[in-house]
């Protein structure tokens, strides 16, 4: 047992810190904290900045132009990036599609798509969920029927994150309805400019346009856009879920969030004293911090196993559940800390250049509290994760 990072790892952390310090502007930091909204351009610029340094495709093998960081390095970057309030990396192309292409894609697909993900030429979105297929993803109905050298796609995807910015979507589609559900699904790459695709916004409860509905009406997709074999899409999607769940615990986000809560508690006055001296509030903060200290070690234990080559199984589900509970609790603390200034809906301050209504730290606390309810819903809900843990441990 040794809790210390190696000298090499520490040097790496220092390098990351210096880089972030230089590259993340104050404006970007404020936006990443939610005090203003990140534009598409902001996100693309951040990707470009990382790409220039060779740090965009952190988990990709070197032969595809990636950094090939191990799990510990990735963890260090995630932690530092969150603490620096750097924008997050949009995962759809880089962390979700790319590993599938690298493992199951054809040489042509790899050569064509991977460089375009790095350069930012393509923005990918994920088309898995449907109105009737959420937790029960395998029941998806969007159909792809072979017609000569095309598939004709009909159906609807939903909850498509940042689909409004995307020019490509990777989809799970049904190519066989006569077999067991999981065995009739294929993995298809679809150009969003193809005739017959319509993207409609869904406004979330915090007023943001983050997700969309995507409709497919006789959309013709060339057969060479099929990844791997027909009807093997479920295997590819599952490969992604078990092998590429980076940053699932969100330790860095939680640490940054707790820092913000403490900063707020130092500034807020209650009963003539700073909130940070209030035992009731601080007991709540301490409780979460204690949980986080233990979880970050759990996370490191799993990360170092993964660095040694073993794929996290049920542990990933455990980290997802505990990590999201902690993050949501911190969002709740931030909301409490803001007091009455948690009530304004400062869309004009977030969208435009207007001054905040109360203290700047209060602007986004309530929208974040509500928006982050999603953490325990998407990516396999916490109920589904608990089901997996129980099933694995009881040999179901």
């Amino acid at each position: 047992m040794d809790l210390a990072y190696t000298a090499e790892e520490q040097a790496f952390r220092e390098e990351v810190r210096v880089f972030l310090d230089e590259k993340v502007s104050d404006e970007l930091r404020a936006k990443a904290r939610g005090e203003a909204s990140l534009s598409k351009q902001d996100m693309e610029d951040w990707h470009a900045t990382l790409n220039e340094k060779g740090w965009l495709a952190q988990n990709w093998p070197k032969k595809f132009g990636g950094a090939e960081w191990n799990a510990v390095q990735r963890h260090i970057f995630e932690e530092e990036a969150a603490m620096a309030n750097a924008p997050r990396i949009i995962p759809f192309g880089l962390a979700m599609l790319a590993p599938v292409l690298q493992k199951f894609g054809s040489k042509e697909q790899q050569d064509h798509y991977l460089p375009r993900i790095l350069s930012g030429e393509d923005w990918w979105c994920q088309g898995y969920s449907e109105p009737g297929a959420g937790s029960d993803l395998a029941s998806l109905k969007t159909k792809a029927v072979r017609d000569g050298d095309h598939y004709v796609v009909n159906g609807q995807k939903t909850w498509t994150t940042l689909g409004q910015h995307a020019n490509w979507i990777f989809c799970l589609v049904r190519t066989d309805s006569d077999v067991k559900q999981q065995e009739g699904i294929s993995f298809l790459l679809i150009d969003m400019d193809t005739p017959g695709i319509e993207v409609r916004p869904i406004i979330l409860l915090d007023g943001t346009h983050e997700v969309n509905e995507v409709f497919f009406d006789d959309v013709r997709v060339p057969v060479e856009n099929l990844v791997g074999e027909e009807n093997k899409g479920w295997t590819y999607a599952k490969y992604l879920l078990t092998h590429e769940r980076t940053n699932i615990a969100g330790v860095g986000f939680s640490q940054a969030g707790l820092d913000t809560v403490k900063r707020m508690a130092r500034a807020e006055m209650s009963g003539g004293r700073p909130l940070i001296e209030n035992p009731h509030f601080m007991a709540r903060v301490a409780q979460v911090e204690i949980d986080l200290m233990a979880m970050s070690t759990t996370n490191l234990r799993i990360v170092s196993q993964a660095a040694a080559g073993s794929a996290p199984g049920v542990e990933a589900s455990m980290l997802k559940v505990k990590g999201t509970i902690i993050r949501q609790e911190i969002n709740d603390l931030a909301r409490r800390a803001a007091g009455p200034y948690a009530m304004p809906f400062a869309s004009e301050a977030i969208e435009g250049d207007n001054d905040p209504i109360g203290p700047d730290y209060a602007t986004a606390v309530s929208p974040h509290y509500f928006n982050n309810r999603k953490l325990s819903i998407f990516g396999g809900s916490n109920e589904i994760q608990r089901g997996i843990i129980a099933k694995v441990k009881m040999g179901g």
């Binding site: 009455p340 809906f345 309810r373 809900s381």
Partner: protein, 377 residues
């Protein structure tokens, strides 16, 4: 013991519930929320016509109710429908202060409130006062035969719609003193009053107000100079009962929506409510909802008691409502999955109403502390 509503209150509840379910649909409400004023003048006058505002005042004060259970009857229904119109601000706070401290001329305004013609706002909180009711830094200084107000007021709900603001200001003492606070009726368009209005996350609007050399006559003062604090406590006690009932009503709707969804949403070939992992949590919501209902009854039933007993019950109720409210809001969203995250779905608004209750007149922790302090006394 009798836990039934009186016939009059039962009628009021039925009428109000019917009216709101007919007229205050999700679509109508979402349009109101999006509008520039954040409230519907039509709905407001129809509510006044139904007697909803009158029910919040006693007969002596020009209404036909005014007791704790009148407040809870009205606000539970407003909460169930997720009503954003600031009846609390105009009637309970504004009207309540006029009734408690006003002279005959000032009290005469109540008729207009009950009729639906006058909006008020209570400009009390300040940028750094948080939930402390005694922390007033805005000053009122006698200058010849006039009084000059200077200061800032924060998150003043309904300020833009209000014809008159009830402004608290300090005539003597230091920021945290209970004595020395006075209230003034200030026309919203008085010289030196400026506002920055904005929408609230759970609907309705508020404003930041700057008072810069605002001059009023001595007849603008409500009650005796420097003596307003006890009346502020009384009126905030009433507001806390109303807010608790409103949150209770919203929780009833959240629970009902969740019940329906659990029975109709199918995944893995069966209604999701048949998964025990969800069924048990839904049961917990129902158990806690009954706790919340009893807590509201406790608060309403002690509203007319002496301040210490009353406030101990109110603090306990707000603390419990804060805890149960969070549970109900979060569990309802979670058990719905993605659909509850969308702005246009009824539950999203209802959940916001529930959680944002925690930011008016003290949150769960604030009321826990008050409960401890009042229990020691």
């Amino acid at each position: 013991m009798d836990f039934q509503l009186t016939e009059e209150r039962q009628m009021l509840q039925d009428t109000l519930r019917r009216f709101l379910s007919d007229r205050y649909t999700t679509t109508v409400r979402n349009e109101i929320i999006e509008s520039d004023t954040g409230l519907s003048a039509d709905i407001w006058s129809e509510l006044a016509e139904l007697g909803v505002i009158g029910a919040l005042f006693s007969e002596d004060d020009g209404g036909f109710g005014g007791a704790g259970f009148d407040l809870t009857t009205v606000f539970e229904e407003l909460g169930r429908a997720g009503v954003v119109e600031p009846i609390l601000d105009t009637a309970i706070l504004g009207g309540g202060l006029l009734v408690a401290l006003g002279n005959d001329a000032q009290k005469a305004l109540v008729e207009d409130i009950v009729g639906g013609g006058l909006h008020l706002a209570f400009a009390h909180g300040e940028p750094t006062s948080r939930y402390d009711l005694n922390r007033v830094e805005t000053t009122a200084k006698q200058q010849g035969d006039q009084i000059v107000l200077n200061g800032r007021k924060a998150v003043v709900v309904n300020a833009e719609a209000a014809g008159q603001l009830i402004v608290s200001a300090r005539e003597s003492g230091a920021a945290g003193d209970e004595s020395g606070i006075s209230l003034f009726l200030v026309p919203a368009d008085a010289a030196g009053v400026s506002m920055r209005g904005y929408p609230l996350l759970a609907g309705g609007r508020a404003a930041e107000i700057v008072l810069d050399e605002v001059k009023v006559g001595p007849d603008a003062r409500l009650g005796a100079a420097g003596d307003a604090y006890p009346a502020i406590l009384d009126v905030v006690a009433r507001a806390n009962v109303a807010l608790s009932a409103e949150a209770l009503g919203a929780m009833e709707t959240a629970t009902e929506l969740t019940r329906e969804y659990l029975m109709t949403r199918k995944q893995f070939g069966r209604p999701i409510g048949t998964f025990q992992a969800l069924a048990h949590r839904f049961s917990d919501m129902l158990i806690e909802l009954e706790q919340a209902r009893s807590a509201v009854i406790n608060a309403a039933g002690h509203l007319a008691e002496g301040a210490t007993l009353r406030d101990r019950h109110i603090a306990s109720t707000r603390n419990l409502i804060g805890r149960v409210g969070r549970l109900v809001a979060e569990e309802s969203i979670q058990m719905h999955g993605g659909i509850a995250m969308t702005q246009e779905y009824e539950l999203a608004h209802i959940a916001k109403r529930i959680v944002m209750t925690d930011h008016r007149f003290g949150d769960t922790d604030y009321h826990l502390e008050r409960f401890i302090a009042l229990s020691a006394a």
